[in-house]
């Protein structure tokens, strides 16, 4: 059984936002209007954050794309009263929109802030609805949504493999964000398949530059980051806390 995971190389990411839009396109994420930003309720399943370091002129702006970490020990899961968020046997933190009643407890307990609540009914002008991905449920007002590791792509690929009576091949498909990323900063795949790119990165690059966000919380994220390389980084590295 696959165990899905992701490696994001911060030394490659250039902050272009292709992953963000690709995910919105793939997953029927509602349009983030100006009002939504004013209300600070924008929905971006993968979001690009920019952190400052230092002061002009010795200042750095650093980017990091943040999707759901798909924690193996996800704190968002046990707090959901209705099993609307649960763990699949393939290691995905899954969201069942139909069942969600919108307590928002899961997002309270997600320290990565990657769970997004539909405060309003998502609206598209009729013509734009033609773009909606038929494989992805359009969420309604009052439910939580989040990165699913593009579950529809996974299901499709697994089903295809089943139809053809074979095992899934390493990297035979990828997520929308990884596929769009121009710098190849995002790599998605089966951590348990030693031939997949993620597994190889985890066994090589992650040893050198890898860390996971808020690793010290012990939630075992499935998303690994590779540290940004900086000529002027302090010699003493920040180990995981």
């Amino acid at each position: 059984m696959p165990r899905w995971g992701m490696v994001i190389d911060l030394d490659r990411c250039i902050g272009c936002g292709a992953c963000v839009v690709a995910c919105q396109a793939e997953n029927n994420v509602p349009i983030n209007t100006e009002d939504v930003y004013h209300q600070r309720r924008a929905i971006e399943w993968i979001r690009l954050e920019r952190y400052w370091e230092g002061e002009y002129p010795d200042i750095k702006a650093r980017y990091i794309p943040v999707p759901c970490m798909h924690c193996q020990n996800a704190p968002c899961e046990p707090v959901c009263p209705v099993y609307a968020t649960y763990h699949t046997s393939e290691g995905i933190n899954m969201q069942v929109y139909n069942r969600c009643i919108g307590t928002r407890y899961c997002s309270i307990n997600c320290q990565w802030h990657v769970r997004f609540f539909n405060f309003w009914e998502p609206k598209w002008p009729d013509s734009l609805k033609n773009q909606l991905n038929p494989n992805v449920t359009v969420r309604s007002r009052g439910v939580m949504e989040k990165c699913t590791f593009c579950i529809q792509r996974i299901v499709k690929a697994e089903h295809q493999a089943k139809l053809e009576g074979r095992q899934l091949r390493a990297d035979e498909f990828t997520t929308a964000c990884a596929q769009a990323c121009p710098t190849d900063a995002i790599v998605f795949g089966d951590l348990d398949n030693p031939e997949s790119r993620v597994a190889r990165l985890v066994s090589t690059a992650v040893n050198e530059r890898g860390y996971r966000l808020l690793e010290d919380l012990g939630t075992e994220p499935s998303v690994y980051y590779l540290k940004k390389v900086d000529l002027e980084a302090p010699v003493e590295e920040h180990s995981s806390h």
Partner: protein
Amino acid sequence: MRRREFLKLAATSATGAVLFTGCGSIGNGNPPSEFKIESPVWNPNDLRYGRDAWFATAAPASVGGYGIIVRVFEGRAKKVEGNPDFPINFGRSCAKAQALVQELYHPDRVGAPLRLAGQRGSGQYRAVGWDEALGEVASLIRQAPGSTLLVTEPLNGALGAIVEQFVRATGIQHASLEPDERVVLREAMRRAFGVESFPTLDLANARLLVSFSADFLHTWISPVQFARAYGAFRQGRPAVRGTYYHVGPRLSGTAANADRWLPIRPGAEGLVALSMAQVMLEEGLVEETSAVPFFQALGLTPDQLATDFAPERVAEATGLSAEQIRELARAFAEQRPSIAIAGTSAAASTNGLFNLVAVFALNYLVGSVGSEGGLILNPASPLPDELPANRSGDAYRHWVELAQQIAGGQITTVLVHRANPVYSLPPASGFRDALRGAGSVVSFSSFRDETTMLADLVLPDQTLLEQWGLVVPDPGPGYEVVAVQQPVVNPFVDSRAFGDVLIQLAAQLGQPLPWPNQEEAVRALADALRGLGRGNVTAENPRAYFVTMQAQGGWWDERARAGEARPQAATAPANPEFAGEPGQFPFYLLPFPSDSLGYGEFAHLPWLQGLPEPVSTNVWGTWVEINPRTARDIGVETGDLVRVVTPQGSAELPVYVNPAAMPDVLSVPMGQGHTAFGRYAEGRGVNPLELVAPQVERETGALAWAATRCRLELTGRRMRIARFEGQIPAFQLEEFPIVQVTRPRS
């Protein structure tokens, strides 16, 4: 998705159809380890019946014209991905290409030909039939072909060929509009290297890149191509990690990735480059012979260089210290292969051409021109005559003349296709007023943009995803490439491809073009490629050839590369000049192309409006970026409304305190300030071009939009800026850095 699968998918068109039978599996998915009641619903995203088809086509020229594939489901375009086979992007794509589907299904698309039904500019139109509309345009051209002006964006490939033929057949005038820096860059390429097309960068093999203000990862000529190479440049090689320095007046979204950012005065890029050259030569870091083309390109003697451009002499004017310049020069000379590029605001100065030539000529010094890991020049089109490569846009100076001709009545009819001069040219050009008084204006736009709002007739074009074409991407990957563009869906509204319209007009005018329609033109030109007998596509008959080309997304020949580069003309050093007295206008006004909206051509797409600018994280508006100290001195903070005053005009903008802004530089993003262009673009923000003085680049006459000074006036009012970042500037916590950094392995 790998190529083969894609082919298979496209070929059978049924492999994408998957049946969801998960409902039978109630309760059989519990993970073995933990007590939980797993949802018997397999997952919330059921798979549907239906046919998934993937079609290859090309992205817009303004993002590099690279190859994309589009997922089509039940006749609707759903998702854009990069074409994994296409040699420019190899499956990668960008936000703007992703948003093409929103253009296709935009709620404010012009749905049918329109005729003005009220005052010009009133926006009142009524629908007319295509025949009627075509007839009217034909008669307009027939009346005075010589006084008819066709305005387009720079065209190439099949549409370029059709337009060229049309212009030739009818004898009308043609001008093309593109961002002025590109005009300057083309001239710089011509002068420094003798090529007509934009260069590409072999970053994957380079060790050092110095970008002088060029926003090459986000907006500059071919960001996806460069970004892809950048990934490999940084982490694609086991032993080497490329180093990137950025020299320029703004920490742009691109510059933020630099290992070191060297803030300089706007327009001082060329000066820094010369000074670097001086250091390299003085310290003997480069061979004398490689300096010859450098000196030719700049019309300098070694003595002049040595005396006038020593770091100590120019440091003051550049804003850097002499030591910084020396270090930069040493790094550039020593960490070869190294590349120097310049662009964006470097080109938009009064000395823009000099800036670009000086920087690009640095590549001669380190032997990086056309070599592995260096600056790669691109050949022109494989079929220069039949399939034109990009024709350069016209410079601002020429547009001013055209405006005068329209105003003076020498030009009576203006046809506009996919260019928006009313928005893109600063008001100082007088184009808007001229057009308002023009005899007739015909627009071929899919949207009611500012120019279309002044049209008497609108003949809506199809969007990219609905029409045929062959595109010569500029820049290419270093060899000849032609992308195929094909309709992935039926036209969504009652529109016609511009090429078809021209072909039909020509027929009506009695000057028929060689093809019956745009599709046939494309097929014919593709067959001409077959005639070359080289490249990636082989097939016996035209049909098979074209199908293969369609399936792969285009034609390319890796061996067809550019010839030897040689400077063609000298470009003398010059200092930047600014409109406005420094006493009265203490700040530099630095507009910058928006990472998501470009120069405004993407402002109508909500995904891009809602995509945060990477450094400020601002969305849906315009703002002015101010250094924190400066802001404190003036007494403003993020969200305060200030009036930015230039010799040319003034505008009220909210302040964004940008910790990385230079103290005397005020940056303002371009792309907003639309008065038309659909519900998502209209009436938000300010177009900074309205503030810039009509300064032009000395030699090319291009608009120098980074050559204006300004001052700030407080309004005492506040305005909410829509932003993504929280309400406190996000600095990393020392104990808990989100973005962890490490030193390179040495």
